[in-house]
């Protein structure tokens, strides 16, 4: 099964070319300005290639692909092949897997990536690491597209680690700030903890199925789940072999696979208990927060579970656990966002919280999971970028307590962010409303119909999600009202727009001066100001449109595309092929109820935020006074970081010290002691060689006597 279009497999490699161009631009100061456009164009090329490939992919509505199977594979080159692939050999190739899920992910990654990179051309203008930044972004898109397109777990892992290192490099972009360096390191290490689980999951998958290719393991897992019932597509020999091998190993191995993989997903997608890195990751430039830490990279965990749904069903506990973890994270992060006063921090915790929703979605095998991933990418990217504009205008100030009434200074940004906030809050008929309520409805349905194992877990997750809907609306609009409404006032931050250019700088003075002239908005003498239309505000308009109407289009079609597009996409994806959503009057009623409840909760939250943060701001202090201790815990972010420091990092570091002392004194000491033994023997024997003749005589006599004695006894015995 191969595609009859060849360019699709080069989708990840356009950004790879972009990396090389940006890299050259890094080295040649004169070319530095080209890095941004090169990066944007390379991502755009991927997006166009993805669009052109769309209609050839099997399973998408209106596909022209031949009816065989529900996915297509395009082989690029061999990567790691050991042994005979027919007889349990190991195969992991750079082959790309195309099905509707891949296409949705590709649209999100390359489409939103293009918009964010365009914005970044303006945002990063005049920065000394301009080319380095875009090299990182292009490398990120390369890794991310590999992640979503790979046809086996190892290419997924390659993309996974690749986005991890890009995230490390981009968080640490301002690498002379210790806080950024710490945040970058933390992000990478916490992710590695999850990756340990992921790696072990790959090992175990190989051990049980004898393969790590989706085309084998997904049908094999579906076959195992179907208990030999009738299946639509005939199994290939490889799948049959995998099923046989899976039957021959201990069932507990199969049950472990999802839990190990899950750890990786929780690390990358910042779920409890591994979420601590994401809020700190905001130390990176804002476009990075938007692209990497909101729209794309952090959703990889969601993608992984969506992709491997049948594998996650191998244990009956796996998906319920995912749902509950998602639900708890959702509420947990949402409550932290309530009291956060950092413009980006609120959105960071809200990302953690929204990722929790997505996990609930994929855990209940709802279309809503990936649908929410898509809409979230739009509105969260929009929110971060508009937040970046505010931050830019205020010279790096992020404290929302110091901002008020900014709508007068930045009207476009204000209303763009308004759309993003509406979608995040789940205001009726915005994109976030459709996707969130779809997955919450499915969770409640699954939790109440009763024929599902561990239904209560899904119900708990769904209820946690509904509660969080209210909290989300409140904290989102708390921020928006605080920043943009009320009397106009602001404080400037300490950033100068440009970092000071010193003699180490490779940018020549001429280039810097040119940048200054071309970009007058960097000077802050006149207070905050609106961002220029190109390249900063224009790319936000598609995002805002998406945040407003994407839900309606994807569900209803609106005459633009086929109705229920998102559903037909996802239920034609490989991993969902065996499932059919239940539709009945009862489930529809549940869905409508959930929609009504969470929609009205959103409106209520917005109204409350309006009361406390716009209309009667002085009431906040009154209300907060009696619940001060609770608020303190929230402001302290539940002290999770401190707890980890105290319980894990510090003991481990101390243990390292102990081991080093052990190494230096005990192990090396033993060796020294061993080398001391010959010397000791020499020292013990030394007095005999003291040159005194009488002593030699005595020694000789004694020796002779002993020898004689021995000979005598020997003679006697004989």
């Amino acid at each position: 099964m191969t595609l009859d279009f060849d360019y699709a497999k080069f989708i990840p490699w356009f950004p790879a070319i972009g990396v090389i161009i940006c890299f050259i631009c890094c080295m040649k100061p004169a070319l530095r300005k080209l890095a941004g456009p090169a990066c944007v164009l390379s991502i755009l090329a991927s997006f166009i290639a993805a669009c052109m490939a769309y209609s050839y992919v099997p399973g998408v509505p209106g596909s022209t692909a031949a009816g065989e199977g529900n996915f297509a594979i395009s082989h690029l080159f061999n990567w790691i092949n050991i042994g005979d692939p027919e007889k349990g050999g190991f195969v992991a190739n750079f082959s790309y897997f195309f099905d509707p899920l891949t296409m949705i992910m590709l649209f999100v990654v390359t489409g939103i990536g293009t918009l964010i990179a365009t914005y970044a051309m303006g945002y990063m203008h005049g920065e000394r690491g301009y080319a380095r930044f875009f090299a990182g972004v292009a490398l990120f898109i390369f890794s991310m597209t590999n992640l979503v397109m790979g046809d086996n777990l190892l290419v997924l892992y390659l993309g996974w680690e690749g986005v991890g290192i890009c995230s490390y490099l981009l968080i640490g972009y301002y690498y002379d700030k210790p806080i950024a360096v710490e945040a970058a390191k933390k992000a990478f290490i916490v992710n590695r903890i999850g990756d340990l689980g992921f790696a072990l999951g790959i090992f175990l998958t190989y051990m049980t199925f004898g393969s790590i290719e989706y085309k084998v393991i997904i049908p094999a897992a579906q076959e195992l789940l179907a208990h030999g019932a009738e299946h639509a597509v005939a199994l290939t020999p490889a799948v049959k072999a995998a099923v046989a091998q899976a039957h021959s190993v201990s069932p507990s191995y199969l049950a472990w696979i999802p839990f190990l993989l899950m750890l990786g997903a929780f690390g990358k997608s910042a779920q409890l208990p591994l979420f601590v890195w994401l809020p700190d990751a905001m130390a990176g430039p804002t476009p990075v927060s938007a692209l990497v830490h909101a729209a794309t990279m952090v959703t990889s965990g969601v993608y992984m579970i969506a992709r491997l749904t049948p594998i996650f069903q191998l244990s009956e506990y796996a998906l319920p656990v995912v749902a509950v973890i998602g639900g708890i994270t959702c509420l947990f992060a949402g409550t932290i966002a309530l009291t956060n006063n950092d413009l980006k921090g609120v959105f960071a915790y809200s990302t953690v919280s929204q990722l929790g929703y997505m996990f609930i979605g994929v855990a209940v095998i709802s279309v809503g999971g990936v649908f929410h991933l898509t809409t979230h990418a739009f509105f969260k990217a929009l929110l971060f970028l508009t937040a970046g504009s505010v931050m830019h205008a205020l010279a790096g100030n992020l404290d929302i307590r110091t901002m008020s009434g900014m709508r007068k200074k930045m009207p476009v940004t204000c209303w763009l962010m308004f759309f993003g906030c509406l979608a995040l809050a789940g205001f009726p008929f915005t994109a976030g409303y459709y996707s969130k309520d779809l997955l919450l409805g499915d969770a409640i349905v699954k939790g109440t119909i009763g024929n599902v194992p561990h239904a209560n877990w899904y119900l708990v997750a769904g209820i946690l999600g509904i509660i969080t809907a209210f909290i989300t609306a409140f904290y989102t609009f708390r921020l928006w009202f605080k920043v943009f409404m009320g009397p106009t006032s602001w404080e400037m931050g300490t950033d100068e727009g440009h970092e000071p250019v010193d003699d180490m700088e490779v940018i020549t003075d001429a280039v810097a001066k040119e940048a200054e002239e071309a970009d007058p908005h960097h000077t802050h003498h006149h207070g905050p100001h609106e961002m220029p239309m190109w390249p900063m505000n224009l790319p936000l308009i598609p995002l805002a449109l998406g945040a407003a109407v994407l839900g309606m289009i994807a569900v209803g079609g609106l005459g633009l595309i086929a109705p229920k597009w998102i559903e037909s996409m996802l239920f034609n994806s490989t991993q969902f092929a065996a499932f059919h959503p239940e539709h009945s009057a009862a489930t529809d009623a549940t869905h409508h109820t959930v929609e009504f409840i969470s929609g009205s909760l959103a409106v209520l939250g917005i109204a409350l935020a309006f009361v406390f943060h716009c209309w009667k701001r002085e009431w906040v202090a009154v209300v907060c006074k009696p619940i001060k201790p609770a608020i303190n815990i929230l402001v302290g972010k539940y002290y999770v970081d401190e707890l980890y420091e105290l319980l894990i990092r510090r003991p481990l570091h101390t243990f390292g010290r102990v081991l080093f002392v052990f190494d230096d004194y005990v192990l090396a000491g033993l060796v020294n002691f061993a080398s001391f033994i010959p010397r000791l023997a020499g020292w013990a024997a030394r007095p005999t060689q003291n040159g005194v003749l009488q002593k030699y005589g005595v020694g000789m006599g004694l020796g002779l006597a002993i020898t004689l004695l021995i000979v005598f006894y020997a003679w006697l015995a004989a």
């Binding site: 050991i82 050999g89 499932f579």
Partner: protein
């Protein structure tokens, strides 16, 4: 003897010949530039021959190729015999590839006694290549031991403050271990002669059969002896203490060779001798050696984290990394992924850790210190250096797409699926070493490359002195290594495929025993009448009862 068989002796001897030419008195070699250029040509010559060998090598054949022999002590069965298979060839290529780069890298690392320095470097290359081409075990052993001598002088004469202590400990430690190895070799040869009417031979392939026919307790002795020498060389926890000391005191070139090639002599020895000679003992020993390897991975990683000297950190990281390698060698999975991965790991570790030592040497040349507390944010002052440092760290930490990952992944998956000797109990904690590797390597990057710029005070420079970034010579050392790292990362297949057959041969004795044992247990548990049709139905039933469909 055809011309082809002479290629190997040529490759081995060229550096030695160049070395002795260096000793000829004369004005030409009074200039450092000439000495370096001359030695460079010598190593490059050797590299070109090795490339020529690689192109003429039949990669599909698992047998020893380009064999040749010169009688030495015929009565005692001693010959200088040589030959290579793909395992040797990859390690030879690693050696000959690194040596010219190291020679250029040493251009500015010290002052005075250059002739002596490059003499020992070239002699060392001969000894190292000799180790990989020898097919006579005594020839192997001589080369193996002889590598100690040049390095002893390189450390003892050109090293840091504690150089004498470091050189002495390094020499005595490894020498003591390899005396036991020698005893084990003699024991095997003696067994051969007793079963072959007093005829002595030291041909490795002949000795395989002799050793395999030994009873288990004799094999155990042989393996213990072999491991005594090889494990010290690797170095396996807890006999690694010589390594950090030797590394910190050695000059940059010494460290690169030590980490790049010399440590691999240990793992190569295990693969070439221990695996095929003592299959039964290997199976008995595997859990213990595996435990030591895992302990070493974690232990050394934690020790790395508390280091203050960058070079010592990288030195301990070698102990941690080689733990993966040993683990892979003892995995014996059905595809030999562990051992194949281990050989790839040897090559990778030589490249990435060697390059890291080179990078740190460049820092030391500028600042004469390696204390992390004294420096910070050097990426600002030296962006090109910073790039390479981050790049090779990423390779060392096992980032997919670079070389380090492939070896690490294969050794771990090999030991994970290892059916009999190891298993997930070993692979899972070892895989935790991936986390620790990230912790200590990124801790190092955070201290040295990132952060606010802080330049160590260097005697003779003013306070506002700024170090120069890498010059063309230094860049040209690191670029080839970086290219190979990327190439092996995306295209490891030629290497892996060429290793499959030779490694299958070396681990065949052990694998056949494992298969026999597996069959025996299957027979013991399966009643005779269903044996013909080994149905997996019971397991399937058990499985089905446990799994419920979630939907």
């Amino acid at each position: 003897m055809t011309l082809e068989t002479l290629l190997i002796p040529a490759m081995v001897l060229v550096p030695a010949i160049f070395a002795f030419v260096l000793l000829i008195p004369g004005k030409v070699f009074d200039f450092k530039k000439n000495i370096v250029a001359f030695s460079f040509v010598g190593t490059l010559f050797s590299f070109i021959i090795s490339l020529f060998i690689a192109f003429n090598f039949n990669w599909g054949e698992p047998v020893m190729q380009m064999q040749g022999a010169i009688p030495w002590v015929p009565d005692f069965g001693l010959t200088f015999s040589w030959g290579i298979d793909s395992i040797s060839l990859w390690l030879i290529l690693l050696t000959t590839f690194l040596m010219p780069l190291i020679i250029i890298g040493s251009y500015s690392s010290f002052e005075g006694r250059e002739r002596e320095f490059f003499f020992w470097m070239l002699v060392l290359e001969t000894a190292m290549i000799g180790t990989f081409v020898a097919t006579d075990i005594i020839f192997f052993y001589i080369c193996f031991e002889f590598t100690l001598v040049p390095l002893f002088f390189l450390i003892g004469v050109f090293g840091g403050e504690n150089r004498l202590k470091a050189a002495r400990i390094f020499f005595l430690y490894t020498f003591t271990g390899s005396m036991l190895t020698f005893a084990a070799i003699l024991f095997v040869a003696w067994t051969y002669s007793t079963t072959h009417a007093g005829v002595w031979t030291f041909q490795i392939t002949e000795l395989y059969a002799a050793a395999q026919s030994m009873p288990l307790h004799h094999q155990g002795l042989v393996l213990a002896g072999l491991l005594a020498g090889f494990a010290v060389k690797v170095p396996l926890f807890p006999v690694h203490t010589w390594l950090p000391l030797a590394h910190t005191e050695a000059p940059t070139a010494g460290s690169v060779i030590l980490a790049g090639v010399l440590l691999k002599l240990g793992t190569y020895g295990i693969l070439r001798f221990a695996l095929p000679m003592t299959p039964e003992a290997i199976i008995a020993f595997a859990p213990y050696v595996g435990s030591l390897a895992v302990a070493g991975v974690l232990y050394a990683a934690l020790v790395c984290w508390v280091q203050t000297d960058v070079k010592k950190l990288i030195a301990y990281s070698s102990v941690s990394h080689l733990g993966f390698c040993v683990l892979g060698l003892f995995s014996f999975d059905s595809n030999n992924m562990g051992s194949i991965g281990a050989v790839m790991y040897m090559v990778n570790h030589g490249l990435s850790t060697g390059a890291l030592f080179l990078c740190i040497g460049m820092i030391y040349e500028r600042f004469h210190t390696r204390e992390m507390a004294k420096m910070s944010g050097l990426g600002r002052a030296m962006p090109i250096w910073g790039f390479f440092m981050v790049f090779f760290t990423a390779s060392s930490v096992g980032l997919p797409g670079l070389n380090g990952f492939v070896g690490e992944f294969l050794t771990l998956i090999g030991s994970f699926v290892s059916p009999y000797t190891l298993g997930w109990q070993f692979a899972a904690p070892a895989a935790a070493g991936m986390i620790f590797a990230a912790i200590y390597l990124f801790y190092m990057l955070g201290k040295v490359v990132w952060g606010p710029l802080k330049i160590p005070h260097v005697h003779g420079h003013t306070a506002d002195w700024k170090p120069s970034d890498l010059n063309a010579r230094e860049i040209s050392i690191l670029v080839p290594i970086a290219i190979v790292c990327v190439w092996l990362g995306f295209n490891p297949n030629p290497l892996l495929n060429s290793l499959e057959k030779p490694i299958a041969q070396l681990s065949a004795p052990t694998n056949s025993i494992i298969d026999a044992q597996k069959e025996a247990t299957l027979k013991a548990t399966t009643p005779a009448h269903v044996e013909a049709d080994i149905s997996l139905e019971p397991q399937a039933k058990a499985w089905e009862s446990k799994v419920l469909i979630a939907n």
